[in-house]
């Protein structure tokens, strides 16, 4: 029993070590990013690196406190925390200050607190609590509704703060639910929609519809296992398209290809519906319905992008999808960031020798674009090391999550993993032009007390839960 109660013996020191390594690397890179010759001491409290040290010390104290608290505390007070941070979210809308167009900060003296950061762990706790409750069944409508509310409320308020980046983090909980038994169809559908979205914008809606048609045919084949029938369906597509094309030619309607495809699709659908009813294979309605839905989706993406989204949003999406590139416009951040990272070369320019990040070419280089400093000064070796370190941390956390005996701990663990993953993937992705620029920090690296504390809390609650996993048999 003594061993069970000893938190220090049960703590996963490997994770703690990786955590420490990351924050120290982060601190060193913040020093390099905002290095100022007049204040060359890394301990200079007037500079960001000095302040970050304070945040780090505070975070370590916080981690210590989190570890010595009883693990039951987190379970019992999960909803309380959730409600508390929710009120903070509401409060920040009323009393917060606006930074970079997002009203998401409380200003207390010289210290800014960002409630959205802390909402991540409280939401994770609340979800863990709910998912581990007896009346939760993942495919029951009521359960999904409650999950939707738990997630939706903070997301809505974070959106209202105009902090899109933080709000998008919450989408990653889908992965947690997947682990907890959510059908893979949801993930697959999401993936499919994303593909169609990209194909529609990068290429043309025509291409997207052709893709949808092919997917439908494949789906049809897998469901029926009848190649002849599938070929017939393909023939119907081709035939109807030819007919529509011919009709257009003869009647001189001069419709666009998109419209022609749409008409022929609708015509084909009509044929399929009749076929389905006559052969009483009602299950195939799913395919027809999905096909129709995806065609509609393609058109709405096209429509929404061109008519609903603002120029700014269009530009950012275009930038990421590589449709248009304006290095001095919206792409400025990404372009400068890529220059900084790219100029680092294989082994980097050396500590404090970066020119791009040091001279403010890269915006937000100590916060959201801290990875640029890594790339410029430490080169490919540095970036790869950091990525592998994060990967190692995530894989280690998966291992920890999987060894939990309670659903609560497991769900919470996966929440931590997914949130970390989302941050790392999107943050690094945006610095190298693989993800849209949404202002979210790189965990443990980026300058800022709120994010460091929030990730510390996120991680160490999980480590606390893990340390006492033997005590909990189930929840």
């Amino acid at each position: 029993m003594a061993r069970r109660n000893n938190i220090w013996a049960n703590l996963d020191w490997l994770t703690a070590f990786m955590y420490l390594l990351l924050i120290i690397l982060g601190w060193v890179n913040i020093y390099a990013a905002v290095y100022n010759e007049e204040h060359s001491s890394i301990l200079d409290m007037s500079q960001r690196y000095g302040k970050q040290l304070l945040w780090i010390i505070a975070a370590l104290v916080l981690a210590f406190v989190l570890l010595i608290l009883d693990s039951n505390f987190y379970v019992s007070f999960a909803y309380v925390f959730y409600v508390f941070t929710f009120f903070l979210l509401v409060g920040v809308l009323l009393f917060g200050v606006e930074v970079n167009g997002a009203k998401s900060w409380f200003q207390i003296g010289s210290v800014g607190i960002q409630p959205a950061e802390f909402t991540k762990f409280t939401t994770a706790l609340a979800l863990a609590k709910y998912l581990s409750s007896y009346n939760f069944k993942i495919h029951r409508f009521k359960s999904l509704l409650v999950i939707g509310i738990i997630l939706g409320m903070p997301v809505m308020f974070i959106f209202l703060q105009n902090d899109t980046g933080s709000a998008l983090v919450f989408t990653v909980f889908v992965l947690v639910f997947y682990r907890e038994g959510l059908t893979g169809m949801v993930l697959f559908t999401g993936f499919l929609l994303a593909v169609i979205f990209i194909v529609t914008l990068v290429y043309t809606p025509v291409m997207a519809i052709v893709l949808v048609a092919l997917i439908s045919l494949i789906a049809h084949y897998f469901m029926r296992q009848q190649i002849i029938e599938t070929m017939k369906a393909l023939a119907v597509f081709v035939l109807s398209f030819s007919l529509v094309l011919l009709g257009n030619f003869l009647l001189k309607y001069e419709r666009t290809v998109v419209e022609l495809i749409l008409y022929s699709s609708l015509f084909s659908v009509f044929v399929f519906v009749i076929y389905t009813i006559r052969n009483r294979i009602y299950k195939q309605f799913w395919v027809v319905g999905a096909f129709l839905f995806l065609v509609m989706f393609t058109f709405s993406v096209d429509y929404v992008f061109n008519n609903v989204l603002g120029r700014y949003q269009q530009a950012r999406i275009n930038e990421v999808l590589g449709i248009e590139s304006n290095p001095l416009g919206y792409g400025y951040h990404v372009n400068q960031s890529k220059i900084a990272i790219g100029s680092g070369g294989f082994s980097g320019k050396g500590f404090l020798n970066g020119t791009q990040t040091k001279f403010d070419f890269v915006p937000e280089q100590s916060t959201d674009f801290i990875f640029c400093t890594v790339g410029e000064e430490w080169g490919f070796i540095g970036t790869t090391t950091v990525i592998l370190l994060f990967l190692a941390l995530l894989l280690r956390l998966i291992l920890l999550a999987e060894r939990q005996r309670s659903v609560f701990s497991r769900v919470y663990g996966y929440s931590v993993i997914c949130i970390l993953f989302f941050h790392v993937a999107v943050n690094i992705g945006m610095t190298i032009g693989l993800a849209p620029v949404i202002g979210i920090p790189l965990p443990f690296f980026s300058y800022g007390g709120s994010s460091l504390w929030s990730f510390t809390i996120l991680l160490f609650i999980f480590l606390r839960l893990d340390a006492s996993r033997a005590e909990k048999l189930s929840y």
């Binding site: 790219g342 403010d360 490919f380 990525i387 990967l391 995530l394």
Partner: protein, 598 residues
């Protein structure tokens, strides 16, 4: 889920490998991104006259630069009022700058005067994004010798293409000495590389300044000009068209170099340069055209000296040679003067006797078996006298004049179908011969030197530093004529000044001038008045040519002006009746109308 993470990590690593290791373009972008090239413009070299008087110096001027990205809303009206420019000009300038680059600075207003800058400097903090860059502009204490000095202007694209030293906005010598000695005068631009941040703020030197080059101030130049003589020539030549070229015979140093009408060199400086240049260029009197080296005239009677010299050298003429003159009924060329006949060399020069020089000319031809051979011998001598070719060193825009070749006559008359008779007008300096005032002054110098000339030039030395001047050597050209050849011609020239009717306004009591008048027939109005001379006879200090267009007779304007210049140069000033009457009359004569009474 772990698989997803590993996949994403792999994608990132592959992308980073491409970005950081394979693709080198980002490294180049990075260099461009952070380096700012700041050019320091050195002061251009000064120019002094032969006596150490400053002819050209520099004054500071200021260019207003703008970095569009740093601009904030500002009071355009106040700024425009301060700079004394139109609002549209400023806005146009800013738009041009924006078009060029939002991050780099470019010039909006050029060459702001010192006084304006003093005010601007105090208020500049109110206008973020605006900077001032110091440039130098030329300043002329005497506003003299515009054609000799030339002017400085901004480089154009073709200059940039042909010389990589220059870049947009640099100044370059365009004419005159400014052009000829551009490399010495300009010095070397200093280029400093600074690391800059995204706001273009300088963060420090790049590589501790290892790639920087220091600005080197331009070398000063001591010219050969005599500022006082030049100014006096300009004074005498006011309201006239023509030229004055004065040379120190022994050295080839050009003492005065004037094309009239001249212009004030400070007109072609600063912001008004473009407008002023247009005005000058559109002036029907062509003040920008440098007549002294650019205009070639038929030499007229002054050329008889050359024919006499060639005749003497070739032995077809000696002190006893006399030719008959039938005055106005002489054939094939009539004489314009009444004088005794027959006549010898000395008096023929004095009387400018056309028949005498026709006979000399034809004797030179007759000495040789064919007209072609005779002509070629004669032509070769002309070339030794610096005719038909450019003779100056460091003189920009020189016209070589024209000495026809035998092939020209072959083409014109047919091979073997021309002789001395056919080309007889050259005996008296008419016909196809074209000589510039510069060459004519040099001819006077050759005679003064009795047989050689040093390539006429405008620069004596280039300063290496304050105490050390590099004196330039100029080539000496021999005519191959013995000095005795010249004596009789020189006597004739003395007789021109002392015995012909030129003497009334040209002869000096204390200085022996040797000269020769010329009248250049001109189909577009009254004839041109020409005079070449050197003095003193015993020890020539100055040789010169004076052209006065539409001056009718050589004796009327060109000769007295030449004598005034000689007097001024040798005695320091013109005094007494020569000042009150001769100088007065010359300076006040207005010959801009091409038709003058005979």
């Amino acid at each position: 889920m772990g698989a997803i993470f590993i996949l994403v990590a792999l994608i990132f690593i592959v992308k980073l490998f491409r970005l950081q290791v394979i693709d080198s373009s980002y490294k180049q972008y990075a260099t461009k991104n952070v380096l700012r090239r700041v050019v320091t413009y050195p002061a251009r070299g000064l120019m002094y006259d032969r006596n150490g008087k400053l002819l050209v110096y520099n004054k500071a001027a200021y260019d207003l630069l703008v970095t569009p990205r740093e601009l904030e809303v500002f009071d355009t009206t106040a700024l425009c009022a301060m700079l004394d420019i139109e609002k549209e000009e400023l806005i146009k300038g800013i738009n041009r700058a924006k078009k060029y680059s939002r991050y780099k600075s470019s010039v909006v207003v050029k060459q702001i005067a010192q006084e304006t800058y003093a005010v601007l400097q105090e208020k500049l903090y109110k206008y973020p994004g605006f900077y001032v860059q110091t440039r130098t502009l030329r300043e002329y204490p005497y506003n003299t010798a515009a054609h000799a000095l030339g002017y400085v202007g901004e480089v154009n694209q073709s200059m940039i293409n042909s010389d990589p030293y220059y870049s947009q906005g640099d100044y370059i010598g365009i004419l005159g000495l400014e052009k000829a000695y551009e490399k010495e005068l300009r010095g070397r631009k200093g280029i400093n590389f600074f690391l800059v941040d995204v706001h273009n703020r300088i963060k420090g030197p790049y590589r501790e300044g290892r790639n920087d080059t220091l600005a080197l101030i331009g070398s000063n130049i001591t010219t050969t000009l005599d500022a006082d003589l030049q100014a006096y020539a300009e004074y005498l030549m006011q309201n006239k068209k023509g030229s004055v070229v004065a040379i120190e015979p022994a050295t080839g140093e050009v003492l005065a170099f004037l094309s009239a009408p001249t212009y004030n060199p400070s007109l072609l400086v600063g912001r008004a340069r473009g407008d002023n240049y247009q005005k000058l260029a559109n002036d029907t009197l062509q003040p920008i055209f440098n007549r002294a080296i650019g205009a070639s005239y038929m030499p007229g009677s002054t050329f008889k000296l050359v024919n006499a010299l060639i005749g003497l050298h070739e032995g077809v003429l000696n002190e006893y040679t006399k030719h008959a003159c039938s005055g106005t009924v002489s054939r094939p060329i009539r004489c314009t003067h009444e004088h005794i006949s027959p006549i010898g060399v000395r008096n023929a020069i004095r009387e400018s006797c056309n028949p005498f020089f026709w006979n000399t000319f034809s004797s030179i031809f007759q000495k040789y078996p064919t007209a072609r051979e005779g002509f070629n011998v004669w032509k070769d001598h002309l070339q030794h006298f610096g005719l038909g070719q450019r003779i100056g060193v460091g003189v920009v825009g020189e016209n070589g004049g024209n000495v026809p070749k035998d092939s020209y006559y072959d083409h014109y008359y047919g091979k073997g179908r021309w002789n001395a008779m056919t080309v007889r007008s050259m005996a008296i300096g008419q016909g196809e011969l074209l000589i510039t005032p510069f060459q004519l002054a040099n001819l006077a110098a050759i005679i003064a030197n009795k047989g050689y000339y040093v390539a006429p030039h405008l620069v004596r030395s280039i300063w290496i530093n304050e105490n050390n001047q590099q004196v330039i050597d100029y080539p000496k050209n021999e005519t191959g004529f013995s000095s005795e050849t010249f004596d009789m011609v020189i006597d004739g020239m003395q007789a021109v000044v002392e015995e012909s009717n030129v003497r009334y306004n040209t002869k000096l009591d204390t200085i022996t001038i040797c000269g020769k008048t010329g009248t250049v027939q001109n189909p577009h109005g009254s004839d041109h008045s020409v005079f070449i001379a050197f003095a003193p006879k015993e020890n020539p200090q100055i040789a010169l040519s004076v052209y006065v267009e539409h001056g009718v007779w050589g004796s009327r304007y060109a000769a007295p002006i030449a004598s005034l210049l000689i007097e001024k140069y040798l005695k320091g000033e013109v005094t007494g009746w020569r000042k009150d009457i001769v100088e007065e009359k010359m300076a006040n004569a207005n010959l801009l109308n091409p038709i003058q009474p005979d």
